[in-house]
């Protein structure tokens, strides 16, 4: 891939014609917790993807919510972009909260 951003599989359904579309599954393990990436499933429709996600990733745990997203809808950064995108953050100490001293008397931080 030469573009700056790449779709994670190059588009839903393009992987192989005999395969169903790929969907990414996100699970939430409690009220207020973040939805975290759990894995992926193959499915033909959104409802089908939801059911497969439930059966594969939510049958044993304490999952309270599921998201399924067509893999092709995810825009991923390219490995070659790692330098420009992520390196600049590390050389400026004042960008980290630890750089600042907490004033006396401040509670709840």
């Amino acid at each position: 891939m030469t573009t700056d951003t790449v779709s994670a599989t190059g588009g839903a359904g393009r992987a192989a014609e005999t395969q169903w579309d790929l969907w990414e599954v996100f699970t939430q393990e409690g009220e207020g917790a973040p939805h975290e990436h759990a894995g992926s499933v193959h499915a033909t429709t959104a409802e089908h993807a939801m059911q497969n996600a439930r059966d594969v990733y939510a049958r044993r745990g304490k999952v309270v919510s599921l998201w399924v997203v067509p893999t092709g809808a995810i825009i991923a950064s390219a490995p070659s972009d790692a330098g420009p995108l992520f390196d600049p953050g590390n050389d400026k100490a004042y960008r980290h909260p630890q750089f600042y001293k907490t004033p006396r008397g401040v509670r709840g931080l």
């Binding site: 499933v41 193959h42 499915a43 033909t44 409802e47 089908h48 059911q51 497969n52 059966d55 594969v56």
Partner: protein, 283 residues
């Protein structure tokens, strides 16, 4: 499911002296006289689930795609779990010291009380899905009623099982739509499975004196009264799936009194072989 192999002995249970005559006293193929009708009633509920659960488990490792392999195994485990609870309760109700394992593994086919629909071989994937869908649509209605059973243990089991059954129905209804409204081949296979299996669904709505006694005691379901609602669900989903509802006609029956197709015995030989080779084994 190939037509050549046949899916059931269509002549089985087609007699008139099989205990289904209105007002006849409860009788079974094994004993002739029923000592404990509620025990018999619980066996009917349990055996549907045990047998169908085992049939579904035969797909494990063979389903068309990994996700569906897991889905079918999940449903199988749900059904076997329900059967285990119901057989445990049945053993207590019987009061002869038989555990759920004894009841599952040390009864012969003639002592099983499941409807014939659930013992039929899996056939192809369409047949498995159609059979499961016809059962699930019925099962949800039965369990809804049983949550109000006067027997608290049974009501509790039904409440737990109902959550599972609602998901089973959601899953199989979606598959019926996908197969029926899919390719020409998936449509043809689904329609053929529906035509083959439809006659067996009638037995789910038959009742005899054992059912009537359970209903009278507040712990049974009048299955006949569920038929209209079942048809609503089934007709709607089959319509969305562009499948044609078969006409009602000859309907095999007899499973509830121990008259089964030749397929159940073979299935039990497989299911029970380990427990019978090593009685009392633990792991």
């Amino acid at each position: 499911m190939s037509r050549e192999s046949g899916i059931g002995n269509r002549d089985s249970g087609n007699g008139s002296a099989d205990g289904w005559v209105a007002g006849a006293k409860p009788a079974t193929a094994t004993s002739g006289v029923v000592e404990n009708p509620f025990f018999e009633y619980l066996l009917r509920l349990a055996d549907d689930r045990l047998v169908l659960g085992h049939r579904l488990s035969e797909w494990c490792g063979h389903a068309p795609i990994l996700e569906e392999d897991i889905a079918l195994a999940n449903i199988a485990l749900d059904l076997i779990g329900q059967a285990s609870l119901l057989l445990k309760l049945a053993g207590e109700v019987e009061g002869k010291g038989r555990s759920e394992d004894t009841l599952a593994y040390f009864r012969d086919a003639i002592e099983f009380r499941n409807a014939q629909l659930v013992e039929l071989p899996n056939g192809d994937f369409a047949a498995t899905i159609i059979r499961q869908f016809l059962f699930d649509a019925w099962d949800v209605l039965v369990l809804e009623r049983l949550t109000a059973a006067s027997n608290q243990s049974l009501a509790g089991i039904a409440a737990k099982a109902l959550k599972e059954a609602k998901y089973h129905l959601r899953h199989t209804a979606e598959w019926v739509r996908m197969l029926g409204d899919g390719t020409a081949e998936s449509h043809a296979r689904a329609q053929r499975a529906l035509d083959d299996l439809w006659p067996y669904s009638a037995e789910l709505f038959l009742s005899d004196a054992i059912d009537a006694e359970a209903v009278a005691s507040g712990s049974g379901v009048d299955v006949e009264s569920l038929r209209a609602r079942w048809r609503q669900t089934v007709d709607r989903v089959l319509g969305e799936a562009t499948l044609t509802v078969p006409k009602d006609g000859f309907a095999p029956r007899g499973g509830r009194t121990g008259r089964h197709t030749e397929h159940l015995g073979r299935m039990l030989a497989d299911m029970q072989s380990l427990a019978r080779a090593h009685p009392g084994a633990a792991w």
